[in-house]
Symmetry: D2
Subunit: 256 residues, 4 copies
Amino acid sequence: MLTIADHTFSSRLFSGTGKFSHTQLMLDALIASSTELVTLAIKRIDIRQSTDNLMAPLSSLGVKLLPNTSGARNAQEAIFAAQLAREMFNTHWVKLEIHPDPKYLMPDPIETLAAAEVLVKQGFVVLPYVHADPVLCRRLEEVGCAAVMPLASPIGSNQGLLTKEFIRIIIEQANVPVIIDAGIGCPSDATAAMELGADAVLVNTAIASSAQPVIMANCFREAVITGRRAYEAGLGLVSNKANSTSPLTGFLHELC
Amino acid sequence: MLTIADHTFSSRLFSGTGKFSHTQLMLDALIASSTELVTLAIKRIDIRQSTDNLMAPLSSLGVKLLPNTSGARNAQEAIFAAQLAREMFNTHWVKLEIHPDPKYLMPDPIETLAAAEVLVKQGFVVLPYVHADPVLCRRLEEVGCAAVMPLASPIGSNQGLLTKEFIRIIIEQANVPVIIDAGIGCPSDATAAMELGADAVLVNTAIASSAQPVIMANCFREAVITGRRAYEAGLGLVSNKANSTSPLTGFLHELC
Amino acid sequence: MLTIADHTFSSRLFSGTGKFSHTQLMLDALIASSTELVTLAIKRIDIRQSTDNLMAPLSSLGVKLLPNTSGARNAQEAIFAAQLAREMFNTHWVKLEIHPDPKYLMPDPIETLAAAEVLVKQGFVVLPYVHADPVLCRRLEEVGCAAVMPLASPIGSNQGLLTKEFIRIIIEQANVPVIIDAGIGCPSDATAAMELGADAVLVNTAIASSAQPVIMANCFREAVITGRRAYEAGLGLVSNKANSTSPLTGFLHELC
Amino acid sequence: MLTIADHTFSSRLFSGTGKFSHTQLMLDALIASSTELVTLAIKRIDIRQSTDNLMAPLSSLGVKLLPNTSGARNAQEAIFAAQLAREMFNTHWVKLEIHPDPKYLMPDPIETLAAAEVLVKQGFVVLPYVHADPVLCRRLEEVGCAAVMPLASPIGSNQGLLTKEFIRIIIEQANVPVIIDAGIGCPSDATAAMELGADAVLVNTAIASSAQPVIMANCFREAVITGRRAYEAGLGLVSNKANSTSPLTGFLHELC
């Protein structure tokens, strides 16, 4: 069981709503993933209509919503987006994303910490999306973030765990859950992240861009469970030498 | 379902009997792995007693036995070992292992091909353990091997899929099952091998050297299933750029 | 030629003074490296004596000194250290290092930006040591830093270019020189960094911890020159297929 | 100095003649590389004309020629090609290449060993191109090959040192020179191969496919020299922890 703030999750796979070709496919994938936390962006239409296309079906799944501030380019915009989201989605949870650069969408450490500090004071449960920066993760924890979400590789790139050695340090030092976000491209990446000791992973593109998103969502479900169990069971050590598995039958040349 | 020679397997995880601290633990791990094919070495004691410590309990599991020629340093010794094994274990299946070097236990391509050719003619179902050499795998297929077993990294090293790019070529060219053997260190490696399109993986050290072999065996069971399903569903493409998952909320700065 | 602030360097290899077993060895290594910029820490003794063991010999080499703020745990300490260094070493150049964590010595992005802003206003030429964070590098450039110094891997680890994909982005976006710092373990790492388009590399541990620091310093000198020239000449493309180098002599089988 | 058979080389960079846009460019690149051993294929025209376009200019460079058997698909064709080459190029040195598969051009271990044995007996100095297979390399050495040439990655792919861990084993076990062939894509790859302890590298595509082959050839010249010197000087150890380069100025917080 994973606890973030006051909420307990049975599933360590978090997911999102982006890039699916249609809503029903997204819903089926979310069900197959067994995720209990789903991130979604605030869209212009949401504000006007005060009702959301996705709200009703997502609510029916019984998942917790995690509005994100995707598109915010600085702390001010992110704080405003979080406040809008609180109204619209009736939740004080927020995935804090601030990325001034539209090409690689890399997160801004300064604005993220500044916004996190304000939002925590305003009563938000803040889950910041950040570079795999161990010191930044510590500072976000210190200002009261409920978890940290370091990236594996550039968002949507499916490049996998490029930041492995830094994530290892983050996990070693963290007192809040560490959720690996962005760049997880295939189930083996998710398993590997969990084997390192991550508390959860967030996967969206790799599910939505699969030829069969529902099956792939289920694969990620299993991959995350397996990686967590392997971490808890304890992995064998890596060696630089070969190590005979079978007893060497030295007697063969006596008999031949 | 995976078919090798005339036998069909529900499980794509093959396992072994080496390095477990005691027999019951090995049996429990094999059960937890759901493996249907178990490799084992011929031991000196087996020949003298004509009964084997492992035979009875392994038989009770209902798994297919795959005797290996571990310890053989050339074709002659391997052929002799295979013939011994056929008598003892009452099977014409053999995992052909020939490794003249005791330090890294790397397989010998020349002796392996020579022994394979003889053993196939003698009616054996031959599964050769080899370096991840695409041309050698083709030749072993041409002389009638039922599958090929290229290594991921040095045996027992837990280093994972070091030979990934060559295994990719082997899988692309093979007309017989490709079973990844040796070096698979954690469940994510097994999933990654299956995502590449391997037909099965053989895991022994990573299970036996875990602090909790039974749980780890079960993790590998799941890892292999997940990797295969992900391969069949079709993985998303890897990109060099970030790719926004959430629609960018460009309207934020109009409102702020 | 590389220009940082108002200074032009013929050499793109920067070095340091730490970890050498004695001063003469350090000096010989620095000469063999052809470096023109040498970083050094402020030591307690320097303040008391107002003369420094290293100052005189380093001055005789004709290299530019780059005092660093190593040991500073926040902006205030770093600013103070920079001001001390300006007095002691008579230079307004400073390598800004702020690392609150004594185990991995990872830099603090928040304090580093804050200190950089103050120091630039006070007339310092600021070269900040940072995680390979593309957005942070942009911001440091915007507040007037003369260069950015992203890390390759944890300092002193010799692990090489772990942050390659992020350094690629930093180089693509930067308008100031990008100097790869920390973790460069062998000359091939330095060459690889320069092939990516880095403007310079800073190497200290890999030279000082070699069995033969003077020769190794000279190797890094050559490695950096070679990497830069290769970058300027233009590297060939990486391909997923083999590509025959020699014309295939298809006529052979007609003749045999 | 590197000695192969009875010949001593000052340069540890070997090169080739393929893929250059014209002959003069090739010659200029070879001069810039300082190579003393150049491999070239036998072409149909050579046999007919009994004079070769490349022979005269290559001879004027004073380099040793290493005819290769590129295009041979089995031992018989390779032996025939070697004999033809001996006549045409007046040398008993041969680079033995046998690759039945036209797509990836991976070498055939069985045919290569068979041909090597015959050619050695016929008085050839045999340098076989092989997969990075430690046992095969040992066997080629045992039948009298003058060196072994394991591949770094598929030929012409510029993918670099994919087989690093296996090359490490080959070098540890070899009593003849180990020359890394195929796949070296940039100077840093060549340096890295030499840092591992390789005796030489063969580079062709990465030079010929550069935008500026002459400069790139010279870069590889330097890269190989640097890697060798670094290997001989002794590289520092890789660590999992950071390791402070500068003495930590703990006194700062006393003063601030």
